[in-house]
């Protein structure tokens, strides 16, 4: 084979693999068989922040102090000290709850526990893992190198590094099931779902929650509905309330391959700060490219063999010296 031909073939091959090869990219992952999750119904949230408080208690996190106000936790967003936060959407006079115009609405920010978790996909050292049974996305500090690719690769900017700690780690919601807490394994529900007085945060299996969400979306506005609280699997209580006018959209059913934490609301989700996501997860595209180029390291191995041959010949010509 002439050197020139080899180079042509190599260049062509590389170009194909860099571009067209991605057509064989993997599909989105499917939800874990017994995936557990939460349903956040923005219209039920009264903004009591009991979930924020309970979350800090269960996970042993300090309050975020602002302007010397030490009495209250005043976290404004997720951070190394906050895994769960209630935020507000406001428009105009902000008088009417769950109204897009001149209204307000509450929105919960915490890990969505993606079916196709970006953080798990990008982590070089497998410090982020998706539990094969429950689908819970967990973090393992003993493996983590702190590169923060998980933050960058998360569509929701959820994993947060403790920047103020010289020996910090990533913090994220692990559905109260991390080592030492293990509420789910012990048959309990997440802390936030447990304390939520209105059932705005509801715990359950992804499947059951999805059914519940769709049932609510099918309600006529004003229709009285018995809203369960706590754990959907074993509701110990519920309360009756007139149904609001839901947007016909379960966030997390399809977004970037879906999430185990679902949201429903009366306000369009982009107004509630949800990112512009399609159905394909970006992580799955990246993995497709990566696996095409580096499948069994076959391509690099072939390239190395060719390169070694060519370089050997050329260094011989030059007298073997660099």
């Amino acid at each position: 084979m002439k050197r020139r031909d080899f180079l042509k073939a190599a260049a062509g091959g590389a170009a194909v693999l860099c571009t067209g090869g991605a057509a064989q990219a993997r599909e989105n992952l499917q939800p874990a068989p017994q995936a557990v999750g939460m349903l956040f119904d923005s219209t039920l949230c009264v903004g009591c922040k009991a979930c924020v408080s309970k979350c800090k208690e269960v996970n042993g996190m300090p309050p975020v102090i602002r302007d010397g106000q030490v009495q209250f936790d005043s976290a404004s967003d997720l951070s190394g000290d906050t895994l769960n936060v209630i935020k507000i959407y406001k428009d105009g006079t902000a008088k009417v709850k769950d109204s897009e115009v001149d209204g307000f609405a509450f929105e919960k920010r915490s890990c969505m526990h993606c079916v196709n978790p970006g953080c798990v996909s990008v982590c070089p050292v497998t410090a982020m893992r998706r539990d094969p049974a429950t689908g819970i996305v967990t973090y393992h500090a003993d493996a983590c190198i702190g590169c923060r690719n998980c933050t960058v690769g998360c569509p929701y900017n959820v994993p947060q590094f403790e920047y103020d700690n010289p020996f910090g780690q990533i913090q994220k919601c692990q559905m109260c099931n991390q080592a030492g807490v293990e509420r789910i394994d012990n048959g309990q529900m997440t802390g936030c779902a447990e304390v939520c007085p209105t059932g705005a945060t509801l715990f359950g299996t992804r499947e059951a929650l999805m059914e519940e969400a769709k049932r609510r979306l099918a309600l006529k506005p004003g229709e009285i509905y018995n809203y369960p609280r706590g754990d959907l699997g074993k509701p110990y209580n519920s309360h009756e309330k007139a149904a609001p006018e839901y947007k016909q959209h379960v966030w997390g059913e399809k977004e970037a391959g879906g999430t185990n934490v679902l949201h429903i609301s009366s306000i369009p989700f982009d107004k509630l700060g949800m990112p512009p996501l399609g159905e394909r997860s970006a992580a799955s595209i990246a993995e497709g490219v990566q696996h095409t180029l580096y499948s069994y390291l076959a391509l690099p191995a072939v390239a190395l063999a060719g390169l070694t041959y060519v370089v050997r010949r050329n260094t011989d010509d030059d007298g073997g010296e660099s």
Partner: protein, 375 residues
Amino acid sequence: MAIHKNDQFEQRLGVSRRDFLKFCTGMAATIGLSTTDALAMAEAVEGAAKRPVVIWLHGQECTGPTESLLRGEHPTLERLILEMISLDYHQTLDAGAGHDVEHAKDASMAANKGKYLLVIEGSIPTKDGGIYCKIAGKTMLQHTQEAAEHAAAIVAFGSCASWGGVQSTGINPTEAQGAQAVLPGKTVLNLPGCPPNPYNFLATVLHFVTFGKLPELDEQNRPKFAYGRLIHENCERRPHFDAGRFAEEFGDEGHAKGWCLYKLGCKGPETYANCPAVEFNDIGGGTWPVGVGHPCFGCAEEGVGFTKPLFSLADVKTHTPPNEFPLIDQRENATGASTGAAALAGAVGGAVVGAGAMAAKKIGDAENNSSDNQG
């Protein structure tokens, strides 16, 4: 105030000066006024040449507000009230009855035209010309309108008089309305509550007597000192709400421990009143509904009490710490460029470009030199 007034005053009111000043200070505190204002109140009451006349009407009601007022236990309250004001007409408390008292009322209203204080207790039925509540052959509607005509001020005492109360709920068979609704163009001061707190009434009357005007009112004409805040904001169980500790049912562990009653349907988060601060019946120890373990019923709030189901969850209207909510786009530590950093970044960029340009110039010069040498 002059000492010589003292004996005369004590005689008139039948209380010691010490008890009287204590009472005035307490009233001033209820409204949120200073000790100086309390002394002004005391002076206003004792210095009055003639006690202010009060005409008190009863519509559709249970006499709850009057009963509540009678239970005020501050220094011999009933005597103070009866001596302090001239209660010229009150169907429950009047000694007389029948046409005599009606005549007395008419006479008093004529004599004190434009000076008397009108207190309305109970709602006013308006269906079929208001025939469902008649006193002395006249409907309550007529009584109210007549008395309001020349009143110096009008106070609606209790939820019924304020916004219709229990009679106005549901199908409202008599089309019961509050005083304000049947007195368009008049300012009616509302003191809702079922029953309303007597001290809010006393404080309002004293304010009127002292300063000659009504206290500051909110949009629903309720005095702000009493109705400016949600029950939820001053509730002693609030920390349990913030921490997510709720009683799940009556008699459970959380209920026994005094946890938040929100899940049991407490309407404190949507009811404006000062119950947790003033309490009831002067016995202290948290004597008010939530204090004794029952969820707030929302009696003072139109659209809540007698309207919402007892155990349905309240809308939470608080916007005080810690319930200040971060906006969707509010982030932690998302600081913009500091002037120093921007300048430094500019300097680095400038240095890079500058060095490049300089080098290009120099290399050009070097080449020219070498070609000159060759040439």
